[in-house]
Symmetry: C2
Subunit: 594 residues, 2 copies
């Protein structure tokens, strides 16, 4: 089976021509180090790690799996060395504050590395990904003492991180967590049981920093009563030296459909007197802190989906090139199946979805960067609103794309794809979690319609649509792109109509937002993907005319955009029609009639 | 985990009110025994077997899997007893010729049993399903001697059956099989290696009848040179007594994503002098014989998909009823997730797709019955054309529905769905093969556009659309169904336009048919499903007015139809737009640009 090859050229195109990384580096002083040369060498080295170090462990990790024995979690061979390569290369702290040893690079640069590593080995990649997400939360919310003590170890990757949120009765609904935190002087003792803790325990690092949601005494009910605590696996002395084991332990591992190489733990806190923990952020306001982390993680899960989709595409193309079956359309010769139109349809669907969602994810990353460090506060606000709007879309749509692409990869392989040794069934199994974790796509959709559209009266979405309209007008001036302009215009209008209907109906129909949320998310995803493909087509056309850049590469961008408009964008009308239908038929059936 | 409960009421509604089983029994003498009472008692007993005997072995079979040891295939505990229950109940020969011990019942009655058994335990169900398919081929094509000797054992289920088609270089492309058959008097000796042979070997029955495609000497090249042979596992004396082992052996078993309890074998023929085989049908015309079997099997795979989708729906509903998470839309109380609109969307999507595709599959089964035994030859011809048209749609669309429903089932369960012990991941793994085997959905789509539409100038499809138009007019007369009528009308028109475009473009654009085939299949599937839902809505409305039948049941049919029209039918426009786009953007990318 051919290994993954990180698509550096495509990534560079998306970063430089679509997401606007050069403009970020040129206008935001904090990121002026992210020059084209620097970014190129980072991407090259990340690709090397992905291709040569991480990817070769993907299948063996799936086969070996993980094991909990004598209280210790054993992970597959090679994972320790691969983790060391990531940590020692400074990749965990790529975005981190230089004060604590981070590289201070933009999210736009870490996004492709997240994508590459997830593509190379999704189970492995979830480990450093957790640290990247945690860094932001600790930098923003932890006390100076905690930051000074813990951040250098987290940024360097010397210690790993987990997020301990879920309990058996509290999944999407964190308001009902029961883990409690009892104050003891300047710290707390935690008691409870957490489930679904990814990389909850392991021996890759000498210590693990658990970020745990719990309820302190006198907490108000609901999500406003949750606090966030830092709970180290081993106690840490003020000089960083490790002490005795803290009272947090893995109890069991889950047998999962996929991600076999990533230990998913049930974690027990306080079975022996209480797990010592330190408050992060303010008491009872832990969910806000966790959301700082969750938003990074959600973008990260979207990138995982995109990465897996890309790997599935690569694998399907390789098989389609070599598998000879059937005859050419003119019947004259036996051909590789890549010559069959229906196989090309499958490959192009994977390719177009991957390119569109990648561009959108990188755009959201650049928004996060502007939001963090743009000199002008209004610019920061505007970019934050855009990043907040795009995050659930990148997570939700990106992870749905992973389902479609991995299914098409299996389908391209025919019966061979159903055999585990082929390796492509693993992509499907691994991808399946991405629509679920870090908030199911239903939760993403409610986040989008509730917090990101209804709460600001549709302002951020209208801002996005208006930017799309400008680009759509630019398409009109090129005769070759005129059909694209018309289709894009109709899709923008449909999205605007759905947004207005949502704003109009949600206040009086309490089921409306929930009924339309998922299709609304998919609608905006498909249209925003179409926006990115239109922009790619504009760039490619311009460069081809100017004879700038490699013609075959640019023509491929154009062809992929054409395919997207023929095959993917029409889905927008179906999603829009469903939104227009509202909640009536969703609420019509009585509960006992199901 | 709640076990499967065969949806007998829904099945009866689809058979009696939509598929027209009563009209079949009333007008076709061969099926006059299939009275309402007889059918009811058959469905009741089939449901009991599905619920109580087969379904309880589903999860254990998945966990245990199969093993090849000392040349024998071991299957999970309980499978032998369950198989005996199926065989001794006369279920294998339900449709079979009474002359050889069959029940002579219509396909319309065996279709629900295929659905139920696949829903109860897909891996198990593939075994008797293979026999059902083979019976038709043997009845039609085998010599009187072979029929007399083998059919009684096959019809009674005493001997199982396999289909040996695929070779490693010959999957979708059977023209290039290399297994050869050397004549020896009135029989042949076969040499070759077959792969992906479902239930290729096992000890459930004392003998196995392999139907093997091979090439005899002087065969013309391509698919016109393939012959079909009956190759028994043990030699059979003229009196039916079993002799020595024939030279056909399992070499290894595949490790598959799903169907763990169904042995998928590599079979070696002729390693020790040749496997004795008997010609079925005419020399070099084996593919036609195999297609008799394949068509039954394809309808059967569609029913498998529908069955798995239904089981996934049942499981998701059960979980959604019991899982409390989040608050009601008015915020007043904690609720089971079935109260959340987005969860209802998922459940209703599964439900609506299942009901629509079930009705369509049963309709196709009734068409097969009329085609076989209607007194009037013109009626037989018309029904055969309709069955031929619907078969790839039922297989293709039904199996795609299984992907969507099983994914939604996992999604409804959230993180719990990703844990293997929950059991719903198995549905997804098992369902995944249905888009692939018995001809990938790409092959189904080419069958539809090539053999079923282009070859007869769109006649059979136009006949279907015209029947739809009649039903659409009937909707107009009921004010409550008027919106449905408009949407259905637009969908019929879109289908007609796509059909005309196909007929117009395929002759001059050799890539057109392949480029649009899959979306054309999905289009016709979605619209034909909408047709069945419209008919269900008409029946329910009429019965509610007449106060005939259980009101809650009928209102649920109406509500499900409304949901289908709001959420599923809009997909037709997306598929149609893609068909209208033709082949240009699919063929634009050069092979080396992928």
């Amino acid at each position: 089976m051919p290994e993954y090859r990180a698509p550096v050229e495509d990534i560079r195109f998306a970063l430089n021509e679509l997401a606007g990384l050069p403009q970020l580096a040129a206008t935001v002083p904090a990121y002026q180090a992210a020059t084209a040369d620097v970014v190129d060498s980072i991407l090259g080295e990340a690709a090397r790690l992905a291709n040569e170090v991480i990817s070769p462990l993907n299948r063996s990790g799936d086969v070996t799996g993980v094991e909990l024995r004598d209280g210790k979690v054993r992970v597959p061979d090679g994972f320790a060395e691969a983790y060391q390569a990531i940590a020692s290369g400074g990749w965990v702290g790529l975005r981190g504050d230089p004060e604590f040893g981070g590289q201070g690079l933009p999210h736009a640069v870490s996004a492709p590395t997240s994508e590459m590593w997830a593509a190379a080995n999704t189970a492995f990649a979830t480990c450093p990904e957790l640290s990247s997400g945690a860094i932001e939360a600790l930098e923003t919310h932890a006390t100076p003492q905690l930051r000074a003590l813990y951040l250098p170890y987290v940024l360097s990757g010397e210690w790993a991180v987990t997020m301990c949120l879920t309990e058996s009765q509290a999944g999407s609904d964190l308001a009902v967590i029961q883990t409690r935190a009892e104050p003891r002087g300047d710290r707390f003792r935690l008691f409870g049981r957490k489930i679904f803790i990814t990389w909850g325990d392991h021996e890759l690092t000498p210590n693990i920093v658990h970020l745990v949601l719990a309820k302190a005494p006198n907490a108000p009910p609901g999500v406003r009563g949750i606090s966030l605590f830092l709970v180290p696996k081993y106690h840490v002395a003020p000089d960083g030296k490790l002490g005795a084991r803290n009272d947090i332990h893995p109890v069991s591992l889950e047998h999962k459909l996929g991600l076999h190489a990533a230990p998913t733990c049930v974690m027990a806190l306080g079975d022996n007197g209480g797990a010592e923990g330190f408050l992060v952020g303010r008491l009872h306001e832990g969910l806000a802190c966790m959301f700082t982390m969750m938003n990074c993680m959600r973008l990260g899960v979207g990138l995982q989906g995109i990465g897996i989709a890309d790997r599935a595409y690569q694998q399907a193309v390789a098989y389609a090139r070599e598998r000879v079956q059937g005859r050419s359309a003119d019947g004259k010769e036996r051909v590789a199946i890549i010559r069959h139109a229906d196989v090309r349809r499958m490959l192009l669907t994977m390719r177009a979805l991957t390119e569109a969602s990648r561009a959108l994810a990188y755009a959201a990353a650049v928004n996060l960067d502007f939001a963090k460090h743009a000199p002008d506060p209004e610019e920061r606000r505007r970019h934050l609103a855009r990043a907040d709007l795009l995050t659930p879309i990148v997570k939700g749509w990106g992870s749905e794309i992973a389902q479609e692409a991995t299914a098409l990869c299996v389908q391209t392989h025919g019966g061979t794809g159903y055999i585990e040794e082929t390796g492509v069934a693993q992509f499907l199994r691994d991808a399946r979690i991405t629509t679920i974790y870090e908030g199911t796509n239903g939760i993403q959709a409610m986040d989008l319609v509730g917090r990101k559209v209804l709460r600001d009266g549709g302002g951020a979405l209208e801002d996005l649509l208006s930017e799309m309209r400008n680009d759509q007008k630019a398409l009109e001036t090129d005769s070759g792109l005129e059909p694209m302009s018309r289709a894009f215009g109709a899709a923008i209008r449909a999205t605007g109509e759905c947004s207005r209907l949502l704003l109009h109906s949600a206040p009086t129909d309490q089921n409306f937002a929930g009924a339309v949320a998922f299709n609304f998310l998919m609608l905006v995803g498909v249209v925003a993907g179409g926006w990115q493909m239109a922009r790619a087509a504009l760039v490619a056309t311009r460069k081809l005319k100017a004879k700038a850049g490699e013609a075959s590469f640019l023509r491929a961008k154009l062809a992929t955009a054409h395919f997207y408009y023929d095959h993917i964008l029409p889905r927008a009308q179906a999603h829009a029609a469903t939104v227009q239908a509202g909640s009536a038929s969703i609420m019509e059936l009585e509960e006992d009639q199901f």
